[in-house]
């Protein structure tokens, strides 16, 4: 029996929510970044599911590009984290509150 589409979408939603919870809860910048990657992946899953069930290549092409962008974003994001660590000697998010009132 084939798995119906909604199952895949539920899974994607669950992973997304876990990712969001991680972003909001953790204090380490790199862990927050990893949770963001998790969110991106959940969306990729949903796109591929739609693509397969609708028979259109567009979803998969979109995932392709999403991966490429995620890679670029990872590179730049981690470079920023390194730069911050050089200045503040920490990657604790709560310490980065210069924009506080």
């Amino acid at each position: 029996m084939d798995i119906p589409l909604p199952y895949y979408l539920c899974l994607s939603a669950a992973l997304f929510v876990v990712g969001v919870a991680g972003v909001l809860t953790r204090r380490n910048a790199i862990v927050v970044f990893m949770c963001i990657e998790l969110m991106l992946n959940s969306v990729n899953l949903a796109l591929i599911a739609f693509s397969s069930f609708l028979g259109s290549i567009t979803g998969q092409a979109l995932v392709f590009f999403a991966m490429a962008v995620a890679a670029a974003e990872a590179a730049v994001g981690l470079a920023i984290v390194i730069a911050i660590y050089r200045n503040k000697q920490t990657v604790d998010i709560d310490a980065m509150n210069i924009l506080k009132w």
Binding site: A14, V18, F64, I80
Partner: protein
């Protein structure tokens, strides 16, 4: 058979994700995330997206996560210190909101039911996710985004180099 595989993979993915979020050590969190990506790659295969499954492993786990682990090791980050004795209010609010969000999604799905179109994979799904098919799409319909992505990658490389350079 396929549904068994699916449920196992789904459970594995969710578990590793939750464990990733709960870990105090960033390195262990990274490992869990890698495991999650493997599960996702297998799910892609279930969905007959062969190229993307491979790319998931090559790009995401092979490149991105390696980079992450590099950085963790480089900065020599320790475990996340626990400041508050109990769970912070931020966490409570997050849990409430997450539960709310999940329930909304569940509600949506309970409403929709199981549409006829969504029960089976499309007819030519197997041939859809192959390298040739993807290649055809990338160099055909999605040529422009393809080229622009290369520019994007160039910008990202330059940005990363500039940002991480030591001053002076």
């Amino acid at each position: 058979m396929e549904s068994l595989v699916f449920f196992f993979l789904a459970a594995f993915a969710v578990t590793t994700a939750v464990l990733m979020v709960l870990q105090r050590s960033p390195l262990v969190s990274a490992i869990y995330l890698i495991a999650n990506f493997f599960a996702l790659a297998a799910l892609y295969l279930l969905l007959r997206a062969q190229l993307l499954a491979v790319l998931q492993i090559v790009v995401y786990t092979g490149a991105i996560m390696v980079l992450v682990i590099f950085v963790i090791m480089l900065l020599n980050l320790g475990d996340e210190a626990r400041i508050h004795p109990r769970i912070a209010i931020r966490t409570w609010v997050t849990l409430v909101l997450a539960a709310g969000f999940l329930s909304e999604i569940a509600y949506v799905f309970s409403l929709a039911g199981t549409p006829a179109e969504g029960t089976a994979l499309a007819g030519g799904a197997e041939s859809l996710g192959t390298v040739e098919s993807m290649g055809g799409a990338l160099f055909g319909k999605f040529l422009l985004p393809f080229e622009v992505t290369s520019l994007l990658l160039l910008a990202a490389i330059l940005g990363a180099v500039v940002l991480a350079k030591k001053k002076g």
